[in-house]
């Protein structure tokens, strides 16, 4: 005896819709995969060149297996072109910017998310307005300001300016993350006996960890790759960061007329490795954070 009613049986009798693999869809499949391969090659090719040329004694402007495997390019950029100082500067500035930014955006984002105060929505949108300002438009005032304050050619100047560039967007991002953390969690912590500040650090921030990872990752990447502000803030050799050192090494090693591809590739490897390291270290949290930050959009 069937337990399914006649109507349900009729519905079940209709075969599930399966799309036959006809010539048209096979072509579609092929075209799609060709497109994927093209995109993959387009993005991966520079990296392949970078990592092969860096270890090639006679690197050229095209991809090839190194004619002679060597680490000489790396030795040269450190011994002849003082790349180590720039690398150290960049690591210090990027990590410090990341720490300062995360600290500031956590507190600011939390305040905009949780605390009620007069003109809150005005301030919130004013923060966003700052983000729309083109960076190049701020170059002259930033130059003047840092010169007056004696912050040119200093780590503090670089860290403050890089942090300021990133703050508006990341404050908004963190506000979104805090909005998604249930208020009851911190209220429970208050009632359990914690002060509001301790509850923020012990309960809210750990729950908002994916958001913090995104803020940390983005601020590190921005400070690491930033060129424009470094150009106007730094002219002393000892304070230069990687992008500037990269360009100068390239020029003094032969410039455009006699490009030293091996050296350029070695510098490129050192430029991208820390970025990749940061990404892989935080990738799970970053993906979770980025997914949740776009969920409400």
């Amino acid at each position: 005896m069937s337990v399914i009613g006649p109507q349900a049986q009729t519905q079940l009798a209709v075969p599930p819709r399966v799309r036959p693999l006809e010539g048209g869809s096979r072509l579609e499949w092929l075209l799609m995969n060709v497109a994927f391969v093209f995109v993959a090659v387009f993005f991966l090719a520079p990296f392949v060149w970078l990592f092969t040329a860096a270890f090639d004694a006679h690197a050229e402007a095209y991809i090839r297996w190194p004619s002679q495997l060597t680490v000489d390019n790396f030795i040269q950029i450190f011994s002849r072109y003082a790349f180590a100082t720039a690398l150290g500067n960049s690591v210090f500035v990027a990590v410090s910017t990341m720490l300062l930014t995360v600290f500031c955006v956590s507190l600011a984002g939390y305040s905009l998310s949780r605390i009620e105060f007069r003109r809150k929505s005005w301030i919130t949108y004013a923060v966003l307005l700052l983000q729309t300002m083109p960076l190049s438009a701020t170059m002259v005032p930033i130059y003047g300001l840092t010169r007056e304050l004696g912050l040119r050619n200093s780590y503090l100047g670089l860290i403050l300016v890089h942090s300021a560039i990133e703050l508006p967007f990341l404050v908004w991002l963190m506000k979104g993350f805090f909005d998604s953390v249930p208020r009851h969690l911190e209220e429970a912590a208050w009632l359990d006996g914690r002060s509001k500040l301790r509850a923020l650090f012990e309960i809210v921030l750990p729950v908002a960890r994916p958001g913090i990872a995104v803020a940390a990752g983005l601020s590190f990447l921005s400070a690491w790759a930033e060129v424009l502000m470094v150009l106007i803030l730094v002219d002393q050799q000892s304070m230069k960061t990687i992008p500037l050192a990269f360009y100068e090494t390239f020029r003094s090693a032969g410039g455009y007329t006699e490009v030293q591809y091996g050296l350029v590739a070695a510098m490129g490897v050192l430029y991208v490795l820390p970025v990749m390291a940061v990404f892989f270290a935080t990738r799970r949290l970053m993906v979770r954070g980025l997914m949740s930050s776009t969920r409400g959009l």
Binding site: P182, H184, L185, E187, A188, A189, W190, L191, D192, G193, R194, S195, K196, I203, P206, V207, R209
Partner: protein, 355 residues
């Protein structure tokens, strides 16, 4: 010893026109289980949150053991709140969740472990201690939230609809356990719910709220048998009290639909009256008796242990509770008699009970 007093408490949110809580005055005795009952938006949760320190008062005072707590931070009030969402810390294990309030109070690791184990045993959640909240069912999360509230031995337990996320069967079971637990621990408890069955079964006293005002404060029996106004009469009871327009005539009460019943003694008269009869305060007979009112059966609703018979009296629909064997068919002529002592009379304009 923890007595809680609300003294003319007012609270208005800027986003709403009417105050959320209006002149609430309540006195909760030590060890009492008080239920704040009312529909959504009646101000019951706001009243609870003000006691916890999560909302500020506009006016009035809240005292615990005679001392005002309105200026104290939530952390200094020594009250524990079980949230509707349970609010378990998702990044901590169940054990860490439960011992969090003890860690905050800088209890030693040994004390923490023994108290967590004791509470876990009491609530039968020992096997859940290493898990994370996301790995627990709703019922398990509810127990963990309860354990976190109990472990620190607070002066007052506050519970904000803690059973509403559980399925019906588990809710009934947990209700019983919670009441037993509260009796065992003897801690003053204020429990917020919109479910009148929860209120009736668990409370020592029920405070019924509507539109921010206290409508009635009394034992479940009082609130059920002697509702203070039309709102309470219709909010409490399932099915609710039958409310019928009525007027005094020749010393008796004439109900809409032509039913004349013995008038109960009332304190004062009003221009328009409403008579309230609980479904069990009406006797239903299949044969005519002296003084019984004939009516027509609309439909019978068997509920297993009882039957709710819907009868029509003119344009008025009445619900009558009968035994499981009485199931008159639709259209059957039946005869109704009211128990005079159980009839409640209300002023139609103010809604207040008159007897």
């Amino acid at each position: 010893m923890s007595r809680v007093e609300y003294d003319d408490v007012w609270k208005k949110f800027p986003t709403r026109d009417a105050p959320a809580v209006q002149g609430l005055t309540l006195d909760v005795a030590d060890g009492e289980f008080l239920v704040l009952l009312g529909p959504s938006g009646c101000g019951k949760t706001t009243a609870l949150r003000m006691l916890a320190g999560l909302e500020q008062l506009d006016r009035g005072d809240i005292r615990i053991d005679g001392k005002s707590v309105v200026t104290l931070e939530p952390k200094d009030r020594d009250v524990a709140l079980v949230f509707q969402s349970y609010a378990l810390y998702p990044h901590m294990s169940v054990r860490d969740n439960i011992q969090y309030p003890l860690r905050v109070r800088k209890q030693s690791a040994g004390t923490r472990a023994s108290r967590v184990d004791r509470v876990a045993k009491l609530l039968r959640i020992e096997h859940l201690l290493p898990r994370r909240p996301a790995q627990l069912s709703g019922g398990e999360q509810q127990r963990v939230a309860l354990a976190r509230a109990i472990v620190r031995e607070p002066r007052v337990f506050l519970m904000d609809e803690p059973l509403s996320n559980l399925d019906a069967k588990l809710r009934t079971h947990t209700r019983t356990e919670l009441k037993a637990l509260q009796q065992q621990l003897g801690v003053t408890t204020i429990f917020v719910t919109h479910d009148q069955a929860e209120a009736m079964t668990m409370a020592d006293r029920i405070a019924v709220l509507d539109a921010g005002r206290l409508q009635q404060l009394g034992t479940p029996d009082t609130v059920y048998q002697r509702p203070a106004n039309l709102f309470v009469a219709q909010f409490i009871g399932s099915p609710p009290m039958n409310i019928v327009a009525a007027r005094h005539e020749n010393g008796s009460l004439l109900l809409e639909g032509g039913w004349r019943i013995e008038a109960p003694r009332i304190a004062k008269d009003a221009a328009e009256l409403r008579a309230g009869l609980r479904p069990e305060a009406i006797e239903l007979d299949m044969v005519a008796r002296e003084g019984a009112q004939p009516a027509e059966v609309l439909v019978s609703e068997p509920l297993g242990s009882e039957v709710i018979v819907n009868v029509k009296l003119g344009d008025v629909l009445l619900k009558v509770r009968t035994g499981p064997d009485v199931r008159p068919d639709p259209g059957t002529r039946v005869f109704l008699r009211a128990q005079p002592a159980a009839v409640r009379v209300f002023d139609a304009s103010s809604g207040a009970a008159l007897n």
